[in-house]
């Protein structure tokens, strides 16, 4: 009986792993092209110069980010190199402060604080402009990040992580870029609430 022979199952294991690994490698090559900045799913870093909003697409049945007209972050248009440097700095702040161990990004991380995937588009920032006295959404975000203990959100307070103004600006740029990534509709219903 073949089934009694470990060699039969060994051959099955080797062939299964080989086929699955080859398929994974092919899909990885395709996926990496799609998620490169400027690829089909991920915007270039210069998206920080544009208006980003959400729109329901009936064919896909989900909300997708739309890149609109000019809306430079902090009123200053950035070229490709400057935008890349800013995004690099933003990611470095996010890693050095271990943001992902309280928050989630694309739903990955820790669950003590809100998901930041579409934080840039959150309607709450309008209220925060009044609280912080900032003129713009990005201004309110910077003030909050630099001194979160002053602007307590609720019973859980974000600790002061010693984020400087340039660092806070880089994080805000990062969040704006991330909001423009096509996440297949995650998190759900975000746009619906914004319209309310």
């Amino acid at each position: 009986m073949y089934f009694d022979d470990p060699g039969f199952w060994r051959a099955g294991a080797i062939s299964t792993i080989a086929v699955m690994s080859i398929v994974l490698i092919m899909l990885t090559i395709d996926s990496l092209a799609a998620i490169t900045p400027g690829g089909s799913n991920v915007p270039p870093y210069t998206v920080v110069n544009r208006h980003v909003y959400y729109k329901f697409v009936a064919e896909r049945g989900i909300d997708v980010p739309v890149i609109g007209g000019p809306e430079p972050l902090f009123g200053k248009p950035l070229d490709d190199a400057a935008a890349t440097a800013l995004i690099n700095q933003g990611k470095m702040v996010i890693q050095s402060r271990a943001c992902i161990d309280c928050h989630t990004f694309f739903g990955n991380g820790a669950y003590y604080a809100p998901d930041l995937t579409k934080a840039w588009l959150d309607p709450d920032w309008e209220g925060w402009q009044a609280v912080t006295g900032a003129d713009t959404r990005e201004g309110a975000m910077v003030k909050f990040l630099m001194d979160p203990e002053q602007y307590r959100t609720w019973t859980r307070t974000m600790p002061n992580l010693g984020i400087t103004e340039p660092e806070a600006q880089a994080v805000v740029a990062y969040l704006k870029w991330m909001a423009a990534v096509d996440t297949n509709g995650f998190p759900p219903n975000f746009n619906r609430t914004e319209k309310k």
Binding site: G12, Q95, T183, P187
Partner: protein
């Protein structure tokens, strides 16, 4: 006793110590949900969580290494090759873990520069230890692989189990190299990060524990090598056959193309199959021996491993793996519920089972049985399983209130976190965590005093 087995005992001691620190850090992390002002300004939530999840990874890794160092000489009939280097590295490993933990607790953060990632915190979930420490882990794993492969070469023999183990160690080490880069593009960063996390936890680690359980099963029940090896190959085929593309369930929402919704959903829905196979195997073997064994705690923990792996990793995972559900469940306490149950069932129970087998040998016990292990078995498993129940309730609240109704905004997050069901679930989780911690204390007490207490056991010399 071989030197390799003496080293194994050291690894087990370190593993169980880290298991305790993990439990304590878990209790602290869960208490923040009840009292957010707890240790505010001293130890933020994220540092407590980092300690919780990294000690989890490390104690399991040390448990795996200890198990292999224990079984390897017996399996290949000689001392482990390069044992001297391995012995020295054990102390280096422990010292490095202590230094990293102290840096996390007292330094916590650095500036936004490469130096912070090298020496303080990498800020990527599960691989937060600074790069110097991650490099150290690579060195330790390379030496570990040399120990296994070198022993097989020196012995001029291998077995089916050891061959699987040797092959498994290669991706285990290569995948860990993903711990180093700081890719700015979060989509690409998470894409590769999941190669590390998923293909460790849901592929290479599953194969590793499969090898360890195969070795343990032959010792525990005297199951024939032919049967054990056939099962191991079936498990490897099914785990990797479903798990490699099951990786796709992490690619639903990170910016990757939408074909992953279909591929990830389909293959991860099949992922419980090998785990069900392990349950069938365990029940069949235990039934064939009429549950008779000289080491009841080892047998019960092995059964807990089979069922826990199937229910925690398989069933709990299946619950949230289809994209239609995952859209609402992803990134909520529902995920936490699955994570706790899966790690416990898939790995922790197996290592505890091996520890009872090892103690039976080191203390020359003909029979291992007592009331104490039953108390720890009950407290740990009930505490953990009921904890996952409480987390599931909390996750349901988030899925409905935050995601489906609230629209996933900051305000919706807060509304869900303040929902009475969520609050009660988190208090319940904390209390169950205390029961789990009590179970840990009893477990350690049992380990320390096994065979040394009142004459419950018949102490005789057990032939190798």
């Amino acid at each position: 006793m071989y030197r390799s087995q003496t080293l194994a005992l050291k690894y087990f001691t370190a593993a169980i110590t880290l298991f305790g620190i993990m439990t304590l850090a878990g209790l602290v992390s869960s208490y923040y949900y009840i009292n957010p002002d707890f240790l505010f300004g001293i130890l933020p939530f994220n540092i407590a969580k980092i300690l919780h999840i990294n000690t989890l990874v490390l104690w399991l890794l040390m448990g795996f290494m200890g198990s292999i160092y224990w079984f390897l000489p017996g399996e290949l009939g000689r001392e482990t090759a390069g044992i001297r280097v391995a012995e020295i590295l054990f102390y280096v490993f422990c010292a490095a873990v202590a230094v990293v933990a102290l840096v996390f607790i007292f330094v916590q953060y650095g500036g936004s520069n490469e130096a912070a990632l090298w020496f303080i915190n990498q800020g990527r979930k599960y691989v937060e230890p600074p790069r110097w420490a991650a490099l150290g882990i690579v060195v330790i794993m390379v030496v570990f692989a040399y120990n296994v492969i070198g022993t097989a070469i020196a012995a001029r023999k291998t077995t089916g189990i050891i061959t699987v183990l040797m092959i498994d160690l290669i991706p285990l080490i290569l995948l860990y190299l993903i711990a180093f880069p700081a890719i700015s593009n979060m989509s690409a960063d998470l894409f590769w990060w999941w190669w590390l996390v998923h293909l460790w936890v849901e592929a290479t680690w599953e194969v590793l524990i499969g090898c360890i359980m195969a070795l343990a099963l032959m010792q525990l029940l005297g199951t024939s090598r032919r049967i054990v090896e056939a099962w191991l190959y079936i498990e490897v085929a099914l785990v990797l056959g479903t798990g490699i593309l099951g990786l796709g369930h992490h690619y639903f929402w990170i910016g990757t193309p939408n074909y992953w919704l279909t591929i990830g959903g389909f293959f991860s829905a099949l992922e419980p199959l090998p785990l069900l196979g392990m349950v069938v195997h365990a029940v069949y073997d235990a039934g064939a021996h009429h549950m008779k064994t000289t080491n009841r705690p080892a047998l019960y923990w092995m059964m807990a491993e089979a069922f826990g792996n199937f229910i925690g990793a398989g069933v709990w995972g299946f619950m949230i793996t289809l994209p239609q559900i995952n859209l609402y469940a992803h990134g909520t306490q529902w995920t936490v519920s699955h994570g706790h149950f899966a790690f416990w069932g898939a790995y922790a129970c197996g290592i505890i089972s091996v520890l009872y087998l090892v103690l039976q040998r080191t203390r020359n016990l003909a029979v291992v049985d007592s009331q104490l292990w039953k108390w720890s078995f009950a407290a740990l498993n009930l505490g953990l399983v009921l904890m996952t129940g409480a987390l599931l309730v909390a996750g349901f609240v988030q899925a409905f209130v935050e995601r489906a109704i609230g629209g996933s905004t900051l305000n919706a997050f807060i509304t869900a976190q303040e929902n009475p069901w969520f609050v009660e679930a988190m208090v319940t989780r904390f209390l169950l965590g205390i029961i789990f911690a009590a179970g840990y204390v009893v477990l350690v007490w049992d380990f320390l005093t096994l065979g040394r207490r009142a004459p419950v056991f018949v102490a005789t010399s057990v032939a190798e």
